[in-house]
Symmetry: C2
Subunit: 137 residues, 2 copies
Protein backbone atom coordinates (compact mmCIF):
# COMPACT_ATOMS: atom_id res chain seq x y z
CA UNK A 1 0.00 0.00 0.00
CA UNK A 2 1.22 3.42 -0.88
CA UNK A 3 -0.08 6.72 0.35
CA UNK A 4 -1.65 9.05 -2.21
CA UNK A 5 0.77 11.82 -3.20
CA UNK A 6 0.50 14.98 -1.16
CA UNK A 7 -1.28 17.94 -2.76
CA UNK A 8 0.64 20.03 -3.54
CA UNK A 9 3.61 17.68 -3.70
CA UNK A 10 6.59 19.68 -2.48
CA UNK A 11 8.84 16.65 -2.98
CA UNK A 12 8.53 17.38 -6.72
CA UNK A 13 9.90 20.90 -6.27
CA UNK A 14 13.41 22.13 -6.88
CA UNK A 15 14.98 22.70 -3.46
CA UNK A 16 11.50 21.94 -2.09
CA UNK A 17 9.96 24.98 -3.79
CA UNK A 18 7.00 24.96 -6.18
CA UNK A 19 6.06 27.73 -8.61
CA UNK A 20 2.92 29.66 -7.69
CA UNK A 21 1.14 31.77 -10.30
CA UNK A 22 -0.98 34.71 -9.16
CA UNK A 23 -3.84 35.60 -11.50
CA UNK A 24 -6.15 38.59 -11.06
CA UNK A 25 -9.56 37.24 -10.05
CA UNK A 26 -11.35 40.00 -11.91
CA UNK A 27 -9.47 40.56 -15.16
CA UNK A 28 -7.87 37.14 -15.51
CA UNK A 29 -4.52 38.84 -16.06
CA UNK A 30 -1.50 36.82 -14.94
CA UNK A 31 0.19 39.07 -12.39
CA UNK A 32 3.34 37.26 -11.31
CA UNK A 33 5.04 34.00 -10.55
CA UNK A 34 6.71 33.38 -7.21
CA UNK A 35 7.69 30.33 -5.15
CA UNK A 36 6.20 28.50 -2.21
CA UNK A 37 7.53 26.09 0.36
CA UNK A 38 5.22 24.19 2.77
CA UNK A 39 5.36 27.06 5.28
CA UNK A 40 4.28 29.65 2.68
CA UNK A 41 1.54 27.29 1.49
CA UNK A 42 0.19 26.79 5.01
CA UNK A 43 0.24 30.48 5.79
CA UNK A 44 -1.56 31.27 2.53
CA UNK A 45 -4.27 28.70 3.37
CA UNK A 46 -4.64 29.96 6.93
CA UNK A 47 -4.58 33.71 6.32
CA UNK A 48 -6.12 33.96 2.85
CA UNK A 49 -3.29 36.34 1.92
CA UNK A 50 -0.72 35.27 -0.66
CA UNK A 51 2.53 34.34 1.05
CA UNK A 52 5.57 33.16 -0.87
CA UNK A 53 9.13 32.07 -0.23
CA UNK A 54 11.64 34.61 -1.50
CA UNK A 55 14.50 32.74 -3.13
CA UNK A 56 16.66 35.87 -3.29
CA UNK A 57 16.18 36.75 0.38
CA UNK A 58 15.82 33.20 1.70
CA UNK A 59 12.81 33.99 3.84
CA UNK A 60 9.03 34.03 3.94
CA UNK A 61 7.57 36.79 1.80
CA UNK A 62 4.20 38.09 2.89
CA UNK A 63 3.29 39.82 -0.37
CA UNK A 64 2.58 43.48 0.32
CA UNK A 65 4.16 43.66 3.78
CA UNK A 66 6.44 46.47 2.59
CA UNK A 67 4.33 48.04 -0.16
CA UNK A 68 0.81 47.42 1.15
CA UNK A 69 0.14 45.81 -2.24
CA UNK A 70 -1.39 42.66 -0.78
CA UNK A 71 -3.10 39.80 -2.56
CA UNK A 72 -6.32 38.44 -1.06
CA UNK A 73 -6.72 34.86 -2.27
CA UNK A 74 -10.16 33.98 -3.65
CA UNK A 75 -9.40 30.52 -5.06
CA UNK A 76 -6.49 28.09 -5.09
CA UNK A 77 -5.92 25.46 -7.75
CA UNK A 78 -3.18 22.87 -8.30
CA UNK A 79 -2.17 21.27 -11.55
CA UNK A 80 -2.36 17.63 -12.64
CA UNK A 81 1.13 16.82 -11.35
CA UNK A 82 0.45 18.69 -8.08
CA UNK A 83 3.67 20.63 -8.59
CA UNK A 84 2.33 24.04 -9.64
CA UNK A 85 -0.03 26.29 -7.68
CA UNK A 86 -2.47 28.80 -9.19
CA UNK A 87 -3.88 31.55 -6.98
CA UNK A 88 -6.80 33.75 -7.97
CA UNK A 89 -6.23 36.99 -6.11
CA UNK A 90 -7.73 40.38 -5.51
CA UNK A 91 -4.68 42.59 -5.91
CA UNK A 92 -4.30 45.83 -4.02
CA UNK A 93 -2.17 48.29 -6.00
CA UNK A 94 0.54 46.97 -8.29
CA UNK A 95 1.68 43.34 -8.24
CA UNK A 96 5.07 44.24 -9.69
CA UNK A 97 7.88 45.85 -7.71
CA UNK A 98 8.65 47.91 -10.82
CA UNK A 99 5.28 49.62 -10.35
CA UNK A 100 3.30 47.83 -13.05
CA UNK A 101 -0.04 46.07 -12.51
CA UNK A 102 1.55 42.82 -13.70
CA UNK A 103 5.17 41.68 -13.70
CA UNK A 104 4.59 40.64 -17.33
CA UNK A 105 4.69 44.18 -18.71
CA UNK A 106 7.07 43.42 -21.58
CA UNK A 107 6.21 41.68 -24.84
CA UNK A 108 8.74 39.83 -26.95
CA UNK A 109 8.89 40.52 -30.67
CA UNK A 110 9.58 37.84 -33.27
CA UNK A 111 13.25 38.90 -33.40
CA UNK A 112 13.54 38.24 -29.64
CA UNK A 113 13.65 41.90 -28.55
CA UNK A 114 11.59 43.11 -25.60
CA UNK A 115 9.18 46.06 -25.59
CA UNK A 116 7.46 47.64 -22.60
CA UNK A 117 3.77 47.23 -23.45
CA UNK A 118 2.09 48.53 -20.29
CA UNK A 119 2.01 51.77 -18.29
CA UNK A 120 3.21 52.08 -14.71
CA UNK A 121 0.50 52.21 -12.05
CA UNK A 122 2.76 53.62 -9.36
CA UNK A 123 6.30 54.97 -8.96
CA UNK A 124 8.31 52.28 -7.16
CA UNK A 125 10.28 55.01 -5.34
CA UNK A 126 7.02 56.14 -3.72
CA UNK A 127 6.25 52.61 -2.58
CA UNK A 128 9.58 51.24 -1.45
CA UNK A 129 11.57 54.45 -0.89
CA UNK A 130 14.31 55.79 -3.12
CA UNK A 131 17.14 53.36 -3.73
CA UNK A 132 15.54 50.75 -1.52
CA UNK A 133 15.84 47.09 -2.29
CA UNK A 134 12.31 46.30 -3.45
CA UNK A 135 11.23 42.76 -2.71
CA UNK A 136 11.25 40.33 -5.61
CA UNK A 137 10.93 36.62 -6.10
CA UNK B 1 30.64 48.50 -18.79
CA UNK B 2 28.35 45.56 -18.40
CA UNK B 3 26.06 44.05 -20.97
CA UNK B 4 22.30 44.30 -20.33
CA UNK B 5 20.94 41.03 -18.98
CA UNK B 6 19.64 38.62 -21.60
CA UNK B 7 15.85 38.41 -22.01
CA UNK B 8 14.82 35.89 -20.93
CA UNK B 9 17.76 35.34 -18.61
CA UNK B 10 18.32 31.57 -18.53
CA UNK B 11 21.24 32.06 -16.14
CA UNK B 12 18.59 32.79 -13.48
CA UNK B 13 16.92 29.41 -14.04
CA UNK B 14 17.31 26.26 -12.02
CA UNK B 15 19.43 23.87 -14.07
CA UNK B 16 19.15 26.49 -16.83
CA UNK B 17 15.37 26.09 -17.07
CA UNK B 18 12.77 28.84 -16.71
CA UNK B 19 9.07 28.34 -15.97
CA UNK B 20 6.74 29.10 -18.89
CA UNK B 21 3.06 29.71 -18.28
CA UNK B 22 0.57 29.02 -21.09
CA UNK B 23 -2.59 31.12 -20.96
CA UNK B 24 -5.54 30.72 -23.32
CA UNK B 25 -5.58 33.77 -25.61
CA UNK B 26 -9.37 33.76 -25.77
CA UNK B 27 -10.64 32.90 -22.31
CA UNK B 28 -7.63 34.05 -20.27
CA UNK B 29 -7.64 30.69 -18.51
CA UNK B 30 -4.24 29.55 -17.26
CA UNK B 31 -3.71 26.22 -19.02
CA UNK B 32 -0.42 24.83 -17.75
CA UNK B 33 3.10 25.54 -16.61
CA UNK B 34 6.06 23.87 -18.23
CA UNK B 35 9.78 24.60 -18.58
CA UNK B 36 11.98 26.09 -21.27
CA UNK B 37 15.67 26.01 -22.01
CA UNK B 38 17.26 28.26 -24.67
CA UNK B 39 16.60 25.65 -27.38
CA UNK B 40 12.88 25.42 -26.53
CA UNK B 41 12.68 29.22 -26.41
CA UNK B 42 14.32 29.61 -29.83
CA UNK B 43 12.11 26.97 -31.40
CA UNK B 44 9.00 28.61 -29.93
CA UNK B 45 10.05 31.99 -31.37
CA UNK B 46 10.86 30.52 -34.77
CA UNK B 47 7.87 28.20 -35.24
CA UNK B 48 5.16 30.05 -33.30
CA UNK B 49 4.25 26.72 -31.69
CA UNK B 50 4.82 26.25 -27.95
CA UNK B 51 7.87 24.09 -27.37
CA UNK B 52 9.07 23.17 -23.90
CA UNK B 53 11.81 21.15 -22.25
CA UNK B 54 10.45 18.04 -20.57
CA UNK B 55 12.22 17.62 -17.24
CA UNK B 56 10.87 14.09 -16.79
CA UNK B 57 11.96 12.90 -20.24
CA UNK B 58 15.04 15.11 -20.55
CA UNK B 59 14.26 16.22 -24.08
CA UNK B 60 12.58 18.87 -26.18
CA UNK B 61 8.80 18.68 -25.96
CA UNK B 62 6.91 19.97 -28.97
CA UNK B 63 3.55 20.36 -27.27
CA UNK B 64 0.97 18.32 -29.15
CA UNK B 65 3.37 16.17 -31.16
CA UNK B 66 1.76 13.02 -29.71
CA UNK B 67 -1.76 14.25 -29.02
CA UNK B 68 -2.23 16.81 -31.77
CA UNK B 69 -3.16 19.23 -28.99
CA UNK B 70 -0.85 21.98 -30.15
CA UNK B 71 -0.51 25.52 -28.88
CA UNK B 72 -0.20 28.31 -31.42
CA UNK B 73 1.52 31.22 -29.73
CA UNK B 74 -0.14 34.63 -30.23
CA UNK B 75 1.94 36.68 -27.76
CA UNK B 76 4.99 36.19 -25.57
CA UNK B 77 5.71 38.18 -22.43
CA UNK B 78 8.52 38.03 -19.86
CA UNK B 79 8.39 39.19 -16.28
CA UNK B 80 10.33 41.96 -14.56
CA UNK B 81 13.18 39.66 -13.53
CA UNK B 82 13.27 38.08 -17.02
CA UNK B 83 13.07 34.66 -15.40
CA UNK B 84 9.47 33.67 -16.17
CA UNK B 85 7.83 33.40 -19.59
CA UNK B 86 4.13 33.94 -20.32
CA UNK B 87 2.69 32.57 -23.56
CA UNK B 88 -0.74 33.51 -24.88
CA UNK B 89 -1.81 30.51 -26.93
CA UNK B 90 -4.60 29.23 -29.11
CA UNK B 91 -5.00 25.73 -27.74
CA UNK B 92 -6.14 22.86 -29.91
CA UNK B 93 -8.00 20.25 -27.84
CA UNK B 94 -7.05 19.77 -24.19
CA UNK B 95 -3.91 21.30 -22.69
CA UNK B 96 -3.79 18.67 -19.96
CA UNK B 97 -2.61 15.10 -20.50
CA UNK B 98 -5.39 14.03 -18.11
CA UNK B 99 -7.90 15.21 -20.72
CA UNK B 100 -8.94 18.51 -19.12
CA UNK B 101 -8.91 21.88 -20.87
CA UNK B 102 -6.48 23.17 -18.21
CA UNK B 103 -4.03 21.30 -15.99
CA UNK B 104 -5.49 23.34 -13.11
CA UNK B 105 -8.71 21.34 -12.88
CA UNK B 106 -8.61 20.88 -9.09
CA UNK B 107 -9.49 23.47 -6.46
CA UNK B 108 -8.12 23.40 -2.93
CA UNK B 109 -10.53 23.81 -0.03
CA UNK B 110 -9.69 25.74 3.13
CA UNK B 111 -8.84 22.44 4.90
CA UNK B 112 -6.26 21.71 2.19
CA UNK B 113 -8.24 18.97 0.43
CA UNK B 114 -8.48 18.90 -3.38
CA UNK B 115 -11.67 18.70 -5.43
CA UNK B 116 -11.99 18.14 -9.16
CA UNK B 117 -13.83 21.26 -10.33
CA UNK B 118 -13.84 20.80 -14.10
CA UNK B 119 -15.14 18.24 -16.60
CA UNK B 120 -12.92 16.25 -18.93
CA UNK B 121 -12.84 17.40 -22.55
CA UNK B 122 -11.40 14.17 -23.89
CA UNK B 123 -10.54 10.66 -22.68
CA UNK B 124 -6.74 10.48 -22.38
CA UNK B 125 -6.85 6.83 -23.49
CA UNK B 126 -8.28 7.99 -26.82
CA UNK B 127 -5.49 10.52 -27.23
CA UNK B 128 -2.39 8.72 -25.99
CA UNK B 129 -3.51 5.07 -26.19
CA UNK B 130 -4.42 2.84 -23.28
CA UNK B 131 -1.75 2.54 -20.61
CA UNK B 132 0.55 4.79 -22.56
CA UNK B 133 2.92 7.16 -20.84
CA UNK B 134 1.31 10.49 -21.65
CA UNK B 135 3.77 13.37 -21.91
CA UNK B 136 3.99 15.67 -18.94
CA UNK B 137 6.24 18.44 -17.75
Amino acid sequence: MTDAPAIPDFSRGVDGLLPAIAQDAGSGRVLMLAWMNPQAWQETLETGQATYWSRSRGKLWRKGETSGHRQRVTEIRVDCDADTILLSVEQTGAACHDGYASCFYRTIQSDGSATVADSRLVDPNDVYGKGSDAPSA
